[in-house]
Symmetry: D2
Subunit: 425 residues, 4 copies
């Protein structure tokens, strides 16, 4: 809330905290926590909450663990909840329903709400959740805290509140340095490298923002406007390259999509992003006729090693001279890739590849396999350099999405489906 910091610093400076309350700086974080939960005064409560967040940010992992364990004491009372639920079962009254709401929620939920009310509180809570998720791996008892924190995040980051913004060379450095930091697919090595991705007229980038975190992108996608569908990442990222006029492009290539906030894990922003960006691009550049990704295949090599170790060994043996790989082996890899995408052995029947699950879940179709599309070490390590294109046909995405969501039907080009026998019934 703007101006709030003024109020806070005023209060700290002038020592004008309500007289019957102790100074924040003299308190343990447990005492601060108690005050945040019990103080009635809105400004004082904010002062304590602000102080508590600062205290938290200064903690090491052990101290954070202690803090989280301390919070666990604010659990709900199951017996009260059971009583409320029984009462409501009989009465169907609003009061009893309200009692359920009250008793169904651990009190730490209210703590998180109060922390959020502080200036930049949302940013602080996203950071706190990142820490919580990290510590929960070794301390599963903390997972209970996230049940409510995630629910709050889902509510606060409701897609109705998100704002899509273009990111370009006119964007502030504050945001751009985050783009450099958060790019997760094809690393941005320098500001110069960033410039080549944002400044030319045939390059675009879009991000979702939340109004309470104006300097923090939530997710972003990088787009290359091209004359054709690229088969290798080098077609997109090589420098120098010939820049084309945006109005001459026919194809929008989504070549990188990165989630930015580890503290928002499990809150999905990607599903709308590509479709909104595609629509925004089509409005500005009506001549664009094709929306396609150039995507990595992060799980391919692991799956191959697991499922077809002989083939994996064959390929690995030939990896020293990629360009001379023989046609037969090429065909074998393609057939294996088609199987990797189309014939799941997972319990949920979904593809092994997480990127595939994302794009197919969005309603895209698997369009093209690009052997050695990514010759970087990372590309070779995760997929023998295989990249794929997912195609976003705007008129088909909803149908594809429904078919996939309900029946695990995967939309793929004929060239790919022809490579593999349909999954056994």
């Amino acid at each position: 809330m703007q101006f709030l910091n003024d109020i806070l610093s005023h209060l700290f400076d002038r020592g004008s905290m309500a007289k019957n309350k102790p100074e924040a700086s003299a308190l343990t974080s447990e005492e601060l926590l108690e005050l945040v939960m019990t103080t009635e005064g809105d400004v004082s409560a904010n002062v304590y909450a602000h102080q508590l967040l600062q205290r938290f940010n200064g903690m090491d992992d052990d101290a954070m663990l202690g803090f989280f364990n301390h919070i666990l004491a604010l659990d709900l009372d199951a017996n009260s909840l059971i009583a409320a639920a029984k009462a409501y079962r009989d009465s169907q009254s609003a009061d009893d329903l309200a009692a359920i709401s009250r008793h169904a929620e651990p009190r730490w939920q209210e703590l998180f709400r109060r922390l959020n009310a502080v200036a930049n509180g949302t940013v602080a809570l996203v950071h706190m959740r990142k820490k919580l998720l990290g510590l929960s791996r070794a301390n599963p008892e903390l997972k209970r805290l996230d049940v409510g924190l995630k629910a709050l995040m889902l509510s606060w980051f409701n897609s109705g509140f998100l704002v899509l913004k273009p990111i370009d060379w006119a964007t502030s450095a504050t945001v751009l340095e985050k783009i450099i930091a958060y790019e997760a697919v094809h690393e941005i090595e320098s500001w110069e490298d960033l410039r080549t991705r944002l400044a030319p007229e045939d390059r675009r980038c879009f991000a979702f923002f939340h109004p309470a975190m104006p300097d923090e992108p939530l997710i972003f996608v990088e787009v290359a406007l091209m004359g054709d569908t690229p088969r290798a990442i080098n077609d997109v990222l090589k420098t120098p390259r010939e820049v084309i006029r945006a109005t001459d492009a026919t194809t929008a290539v989504f070549y990188s999509i990165s989630n930015c906030q580890a503290g928002l894990a499990g809150i999905s922003f990607g599903n709308f992003l590509i479709k909104q960006v595609a629509r925004a691009l089509q409005r500005d550049l009506p001549q664009l006729s094709r929306f396609v990704t150039l995507s990595p295949v992060p799980g391919f090599r692991g799956w191959l090693n697991d499922q077809k170790p002989a083939l994996h060994a064959d390929i690995a043996a030939q990896m020293t001279s990629l360009d001379d790989i023989d046609d037969l082996l090429r065909q074998k890899i393609n057939v294996a890739a088609a199987e990797y995408f189309l014939a799941s052995s997972r319990a949920d029947g979904r593809p092994h590849d997480p990127v595939a699950r994302f794009h197919l879940g969005n309603g895209a179709s698997l369009d093209q396999l690009n052997l050695f599309g990514d010759r970087s070490d990372k590309g070779m390590t995760q997929s023998f350099g295989l990249m794929v294109n997912y195609l976003y046909e705007l008129d088909a995405v909803e149908k594809n999405h429904e078919d996939y969501s309900r029946d695990n039907v995967i939309s793929a080009s004929e060239a790919i489906t022809a490579l593999v026998p349909p999954p056994k019934p």
Copy 2:
């Protein structure tokens, strides 16, 4: 979400809804509701939600009542909740806690969330809640719906998300016409009237906004910068009047504060507003030394008629010649007013006057009684024209607030406390 409307209209125009789904326009609102709750496709779900909201907006009260009653079928299952609570009581596991969250919430909660995700969904839901609250009076069974809707609003309108903005003559007409419409204390009669309140350099106005409702103020306060504390509203609103230089003012007078959204009833925005505005003013105009309201006393005459009918009759009899009212009667009114404010007979021990409860709850103190401060019909009808000043001493508000919140201690000037014996123990 921006661009969403493009997607929606695209879908409607091109009939590209997933093939196995019916066209929205051919459906009943019950069928639409079902689709909103069951559709997996994010875009399709939004299309249905958008359509449902439009359908709702076209309904008359009877149809809305039917709609709300229909929603009531989406209640929670108390038995499942009881089972989950029992399981959690034993296990203390995150999974069981998540089960509680799931089962403690009626499914209409999810409906509201999905409606909020639509473009302008928040505005639509605030409107829906206004209708719901209205219909609930005669149909108390609907009150259950608001248990969850209000909780969502509290979450979405967390004070951390609010933005304080100055409202002046450079503000857009879109917002200004709302200021005219929502002014609840001293009516704004025309654009010219509005101009006299916003354009002069000794007048200010501030409002809270939510990022998802950029054209809709939530609450606003009008401020007069003056050389002294006014004792009558005419000192503030008369036209023409001499405009003073803002840098010459010593006193900021909050002479009108209006909540704007009936659909946000019960979600408090006012507590921070005045304090933030006071701080913002002090930063811009460091010479300001006094922050004070000029406030109506809406409950005084009713209380007087009830508690002191003889005095009420006396005053009413003299009302034809206000300025000749005798000193004795004046004193009697003042004493009665002091009692009205300071000696509560309410169960909660709080003052009878709702405006008093608001400002005292904010940490202000009752500073001055202004007999016949408001000689308008409205003023005479509600309080025999009595107005009061509440004083916001920035260094004292937290202490006052705490004392009031905890112990019902009312901070008042000596002149007022001297008028009435202290409340009996």
Copy 3:
């Protein structure tokens, strides 16, 4: 220049004007003028210029006349100029050319430049020129001052500096009240009336602004998006009327264009305006296929009375029952109107009608005569209610413009040209 006012008030407040300079407030405007012209200190010079402008704004017409006459003493020295010109004729040197520049310019030119450097100086100078032009009518000796002032305005308001902005209901009240004040063709009677012209999605408005005058539109045009070319202003302005979807409109109707600044008389902004607006509209609404005006004919009745008094008398006699005017007379009026537009008797061969000269000069063609298109008193008085449509065919405007500019060729529809024999050679 922003912050300048701070500096100015600081200087005035603290009396920190250079010690050897008198306080501005104690000076006559002639002494102030002298100081503006001679002070070397940039800040002091600005202080004096600021003070001089305030002094000017407080003057009545007589005082302004005295002030302007005083300035006339700052004339150039013709002998020095002649000497410089002779020197340059011989030398062709840069120094001598610079001497010409120096001596060819009266010193009042430098005065105007110094006044412009003050905060809001441009606004003040536009106001000063308005006064100068007004006083020049009765005092032609002042016309010399405008030779240079107009040249400065032409330089400062070079079309490269203008900014086209949409005006709509989200525009600030500061600008909107200017739109109400400056509308010169079809009066805007109230804020409600303004709302009907700006808020509906089938109404648009655009204005040119100069960066140094952000609250002052220079010229604006109002546009109705319609399904057909209107033949009467009532088709556009009647209330209530059915609003159409912007995306359903085929025709953009420029029904009012107003110059805002009397102090910028002779500085043309209109020529680019309509063409830029047409292009902007076409980009947003590609389905628009027709750009047309609905324009008054302000000189028609005067011309008719002058040239064809008998016909004028005939029509005037029938004016009481417009709708029953007989077909023969109708035809006579149309023929006369065609002659009025197409057969000039002016020395420059241009049409008699000033609005016609504006639109034809822009490259539009005269498309349609609309008898009794404007039945208001003003419309009847100036043109017997005749309105016309000028058509802007974007592919033809340049050709039309060139033909008209060079050869006085008027582009008109066949229906109109057929009404009148071509002008005699």
Copy 4:
């Protein structure tokens, strides 16, 4: 002018140039020039002007020289000017004054005006002037062109049109990369280096912009907020360093000021800049009590070598061990420096040092000599590392400025004036 590019590309795309005009692309630049000067159609004229500017930008130096020489043919006619001046000498009429204006201006002036009207025309003309100034050195006949071009620039860049903007880490990369490129005093080596100068709360930067060149700073100043006056640039720029709270700073140090546009040489922006920035800082941070520079002394060593070769040789000999330089020599350098600043041998009586002339001309006083304040190669080469502080006392700057402007009086601290006998009368 916005949208103009649309019009231009439309015209080029559709070949809709007025039919009797040739296509721009088929023309020589001389033919284009002729068309720019003669075309009446506003849009066509802009098309040709746009094309001519693009042609110019593609030229090498020889072609530019040819182009400028070609323009020289558009000279004024001295005889017509003489005739007009004589006529005006007799008539004092506005018409004859207008004739002077017309004839006193070479026609190339009108060419520059027409080029400015194009989208981004101002940027293009600033670039053209940079080239013109460069070529004029070896081709002095071109200097005549700049007489008018500079006059236009002075008019367009009138200080009333400039906008002061803070530059910080939230500024767009488009502008920030210009800051890196244009920093002329203490080179910015990388984006990381830039970050250390803009992001910390005790660092500020401000620039002047012109509305027609929104991405191009004209001049900027970098400011360090410190607790004391620094004596060496390393006190300001060392990394890492301890960042102080802005509200704890007492001293604003202007440690670098850079003009950005070679094409605006001779158009002064710096005189207001520091004073405005000082005022802006004081408004935000009222506790700031001292505004001071840390400035290089670029002419010192050259002057010393010239005037006191023995001392220069002495110092140069000791340069290998700076820190052991003996006190006697130290004193000698300081005395020489005081003489360098205070005892001019220039014809105009101004100091030898250009930086001194700038700050003293602004009304600053010479406050402190800092031996070896800049130990970089550049610093040692130009001044044996000497840096100085100029003090901006806001209440004294006008008086200082006047004294300096009129009488060459240099304001300096007693410590410095004591070092040197006053200049001989």
